[in-house]
């Protein structure tokens, strides 16, 4: 069981090589295979994440949630997707047409690209880059642009306001997020995902870096634009923020991107703080999925617990609390590392 | 490569300057507004402390971090120059800063940060450090130039400086990247052996052209001087004084180090460009200064011309030239800041920068008029005061290299400059004061600044030998040819 997916990929690779393809072509085909596998994983999960979210929220509010379509409402979101496929794709007359169209597609690009460095199990990283975690940071930093393009392209006041808020929020909260990851990188001594996983063999980094974990949790919630940081959408104020003018499949893409990002962010949290795909008894990939779902559960729990924060509080909280805290965390980690090294040099 | 703590010890003045800048920032935040006046004393005290600290490093001749930073008499000399300028400006700026509604502490912190950038620029032994130091200086000046937000002219000057500064930095950076691309090293001292090996190449020459343009902008040599009058006029006067003197000297320090240390092999190629640049800088700077009616614009163009004179030292390509260049730079600090300090006082009291409003200043405030007169005479190079000696050596350095015509141009243009400097003197001494004009009261700190400039200008004019010997020794140790 442990090596199920690794074996499948090995068999595929062997098969392609056996067909007499040059090594470069084999690599290209394998990259395609990985991409398709990741897409399949993500899309399947998203459909049921929406269901999970609706159910969870319902239980938290003492309701039943979707329960009509299929057993316990299991087919509800599937049908929702089908419905969205059938809707008309409306582009407003006054919209900046190309920007409007491109935004819905571009929003998916960083979301999917982030999965290239996610370790789905032992030896199951699509590309084990030597800048691993930094790649994730770089890719996710570009997500802002798609939201702003959507907000601008719609040529709608609410959409533009939402887009501007996205920029203010995501650019600000990127800082503590990156700095909190730095604490982990300092402990592991490497940016490579597999090295970070290996460094957590004995103890998870959530134990050594509790402050960093909390900062990451808060900052990533803001990066996801989820409650209590959902100001860019803010239904009561801005209808749906940047997505106000979108309909049909394009709207679904934004929806999809949000959940894809949530999986990506949870996967990175699981890898960096919760030991990655490691655990007793069960196969590594199953452990990984469990950890990711625990993280997703926390994000959903947040959403239905906290009320929305005000814009100025949002920024003040970041710049006056989170950023200094994360800087202090880096400092303390550095001092701690030196003390640890010093202890190791002492002969007891 | 291991970092050696001894390397940091040689950089104590720079480190102390950085700490002072950050400390002032913190003090500016903590101290209540009514007590913010004390920050200027703190600044001056700190700078004087660093100035004294710098004496420890006279006899050092070290290359730190594998050539990244160089502490030799040349660096130490320029440290003194920048610190002196910063001290006098900080003293003279006190009255101006007190008129600010807020950000008083930040003004001094930025002043010190700019000084740090200049010190790094003068000591940089590699291109990356040089560029970072340059940017620190430029960015800080952008903020300082635009400090008077309520005045449209100041904001305009800030915007102009940021755009033109970025443009010139880009040109310089492109030149640096070409030089790096060809030599394969950013460390200035390591370039020489590689260049001796390979000789000139078209791309390297292109890089040199870009470097001349980039540095030319920083020292505001013609034709890269277009930014200076507008920015000098718009900026708060203390900032203008610092910009005109110290930032120019810093650009020059890096200019000379790169061209004399890294590129002496290519001297036949770049000397032509620099000679032409120098000649037109002296001519154009002086000629355009004549019709100016605003004292800051006049001083701006005169500083363009002064940059031309100082470049004589580079053109001479000898230790005499470098020595004369250093000597003239430091005298230029006293003379120019002295003139600007008077302009600050007059502006604060009459609210005007026009030369015609200096009319009769000698009757109402004879001390101010005297300082202004002597500083201007020093800038013009009239015998009893200091500027004469340094100009004499600059001209001698180029004559020694057979460029008599260049010295002749320089002397001619010095004559021209006397004319426009004396226009101000004429207004001050022969003009009649306004009926309601009162004696201008000068605060103690400004008085100190004025006295320092006055004494320096007279003393080094009458008895230049110690400073001259010092500058010549530094020049000889820097470039022993």
């Amino acid at each position: 069981m442990e090596n199920l997916f690794v074996n499948i990929s090995g068999a595929l690779r062997g098969w392609f090589t056996g067909m007499g393809l040059p090594p470069m072509a084999v690599e290209a085909i394998m990259a395609l295979v990985f991409l398709v596998a990741i897409l399949a994983f993500v899309l399947l999960n998203v459909v049921y994440l929406v269901y999970l979210e609706r159910k969870l929220s319902a239980y938290m509010q003492q309701r039943l949630g979707p329960n009509r379509v299929g057993p316990r409402g299991l087919f509800q979101t599937l049908l929702d997707v089908l419905k969205l496929f059938g809707k008309e794709d409306i582009i407003p007359n006054a919209a900046d047409r190309w920007v409007f169209r491109l935004a819905a597609i571009l929003v998916m690009v960083p979301a999917i690209m982030a999965f290239a460095v996610v370790p789905f199990g032992q030896g199951m990283i699509a590309v084990d880059l030597n800048i691993g975690i930094f790649y994730f940071v770089a890719v996710s930093s570009t997500a802002t642009i798609a939201f702003l393009m959507a907000g601008w392209g719609s040529n709608n006041k609410w959409a533009l306001l939402g887009g501007m808020r996205t920029v203010a929020q995501m650019v600000s909260y990127e800082l503590p997020m990156v700095l909190s990851l730095l604490g982990v990188v300092m402990l592991a001594g490497s940016l490579r995902i597999s090295d970070i996983m290996a460094a957590q063999k004995t103890v998870w980094f959530v134990v050594l870096q509790p402050v960093a974990f909390l900062i990451y949790l808060v900052a990533s919630t803001a990066e996801l634009n989820r409650q209590p940081f959902d100001l860019p959408e803010g239904e009561q104020e801005l209808t749906a923020g940047p997505f106000t003018e979108y309909s049909g499949m394009r709207y679904a893409l934004f929806f999809l991107a949000e959940y894809t990002n949530m999986i990506a962010v949870s996967a990175i949290a699981a890898t960096l703080f919760l030991g990655g795909p490691q655990g007793p008894w069960l196969p590594s990939w199953l452990w990984f999925v469990i950890k990711v779902y625990v993280m997703i559960g926390i994000y959903m729990w947040f959403r239905w617990t906290f009320p929305r924060i005000r814009m100025d509080h949002l920024l003040a909280f970041n710049w006056k609390f989170l950023v200094p805290l994360s800087l202090a965390n880096v400092l303390v980690t550095g001092i701690g590392l030196e003390i640890y090294k010093w202890f190791q040099t002492i002969r007891w | 490569m291991q970092i050696q703590l001894a390397d940091f010890a040689l950089m104590m003045p720079e480190i102390a300057t950085a700490i002072l800048a950050i400390g002032l920032l913190i003090v500016g935040l903590v101290v209540p507004r009514e007590q913010a006046k004390g920050i200027s004393f703190l600044t001056v005290a700190g700078l004087v402390g660093i100035w004294l600290l710098n004496f420890l490093y006279w006899h050092e001749n070290a290359s730190l971090f594998g050539g990244i930073y160089i502490v030799d008499p040349y660096t130490v000399f320029f440290r003194f120059l920048f610190l002196t300028a910063a001290i006098i400006v900080a003293l003279a700026a006190k009255d101006y800063v007190n008129t600010l509604e807020r950000n008083q502490g930040e003004f001094y912190a930025l002043l010190v940060a700019a000084t740090l950038g200049m010190m790094i620029l003068a000591g940089a032994g590699d291109l990356v450090t040089l560029y970072i130091g340059l940017e620190l200086m430029t960015i800080t000046f952008v903020i300082l130039v635009g400090y008077q937000k309520k005045e449209a002219k100041s904001s305009e000057a800030g915007v102009k400086y940021v755009i033109l500064g970025a443009m010139s930095s880009a040109v310089l950076l492109y030149g640096l990247s070409l030089v790096f691309g060809f030599t394969g090293t950013t460390i200035i001292a390591d370039m020489v052996p590689r260049l001796t090996l390979s000789g000139a190449s078209p791309l390297l020459l292109l890089g040199i052209v870009f470097l001349v343009a980039g540095f030319g902008f920083k020292v505001s040599a013609v034709p890269f001087h277009m930014w200076s009058p507008d920015i000098y006029e718009g900026a708060p006067t203390p900032v203008t004084a610092f910009l005109a003197v110290a930032s120019k000297a810093a650009g020059l320090a890096a200019f000379v180090r790169v061209f004399l240390i890294a590129l002496p092999e290519l001297q036949p190629y770049w000397i032509t460009i620099v000679v032409v640049l120098t000649a037109i800088t002296v001519v154009v700077g002086n000629l355009i200064a004549i019709p100016q009616s605003n004292i800051k614009r006049m001083l701006a163009f005169s500083s363009v011309a002064q940059a031309g004179y100082i470049l004589f030292g580079l053109v001479a390509f000898s230790s005499l030239g470098v020595g004369a260049l250093l000597f003239h730079s430091i005298l230029y600090v006293f003379a120019n800041i002295g003139a600007f300090a008077v302009a600050i006082v007059v502006k604060n009291s009459t609210g005007s920068d026009e030369i015609k409003d200096y009319s009769g200043l000698a009757q109402t405030s004879p001390f101010l008029a005297a300082v202004m007169l002597l500083c201007l005479l020093s800038l013009a190079g009239i015998p009893p005061v200091a500027g004469f000696v340094s100009k004499f050596y600059l001209f001698m350095a180029v004559i020694e290299k057979g460029m008599v015509w260049l010295a002749f141009v320089g002397i001619m243009m010095s004559m021209v400059s006397v004319y426009y400097y004396l226009i101000v003197a004429k207004a001050m001494y022969l003009g009649t004061p306004n009926r309601e004009a009162k004696p201008i009261s000068v605060s103690a700190s400004t008085q100190i600044a004025l006295v320092i400039c006055l004494v320096a200008v007279i003393f080094f004019g009458v008895y230049p030998t110690p400073l001259l010997d010092l500058a010549m020794n530094v020049g000889y140790s820097f470039f022993p040819f």
Binding site: N130 | F65, I139
Partner: protein, 164 residues
């Protein structure tokens, strides 16, 4: 080793994007094309096996375009955004000078004998980079920190509104 063809394609796209930045009249479109140009540069770094630099290029430049657009939206006074990035009257002269400069540079580049380094890129380039930045190049590194501090303070001083 990546084939040179990839480089030429990427370089072509980068240049086209850069031209679009200059020539489009809509400020927002210009800014968006700038992203393409920056990503093109990042891919060039990747071809040169400088992954870290590529990621920095993305995070610092491409990521920051959003800020640029926000300022573009907030500071453009012109009523019609479609005419927010116009040329002035020096279009022809500027174009000619740029072409002349380009011709000069290209001639110089072609005429130069390049020293080509064929040594392999070290495997742990990020670690070496860190050691260099905090070792030999610690002075420029710290001065850069000082520069950022000054820029931050300056941004606040300049951007804070003036009360009368």
């Amino acid at each position: 080793m990546v084939s040179p063809l990839v480089f030429w394609i990427v370089a072509g796209i980068t240049i086209i994007a850069a031209l679009a930045v200059v020539n489009l009249t809509n400020l927002i479109h210009s800014a968006l094309w700038l992203i393409v140009a920056f990503v093109g540069v990042a891919i060039t770094y990747l071809i040169l096996e400088a992954e870290f630099l590529a990621a920095v290029q993305i995070i610092v430049y491409a990521g920051a375009i959003a800020i640029l657009i926000v300022f573009g939206v907030m500071l453009t006074r012109r009523g019609d955004i479609r005419e927010s990035n116009l040329f002035n009257n020096y279009r022809l002269a500027g174009g000619l000078i740029s072409l002349g400069l380009m011709a000069t540079i290209v001639t110089m580049v072609v005429k130069t004998q390049w020293a080509i380094d064929v040594a392999a890129v070290p495997a742990n380039s990020v670690g070496l980079l860190a050691q260099n930045l905090l070792g030999q190049f610690v002075i420029p590194f710290e001065i850069a920190a000082m520069l950022l501090l000054v820029a931050l303070v300056g941004a606040i001083i300049i951007a804070k509104e003036v009360r009368d």
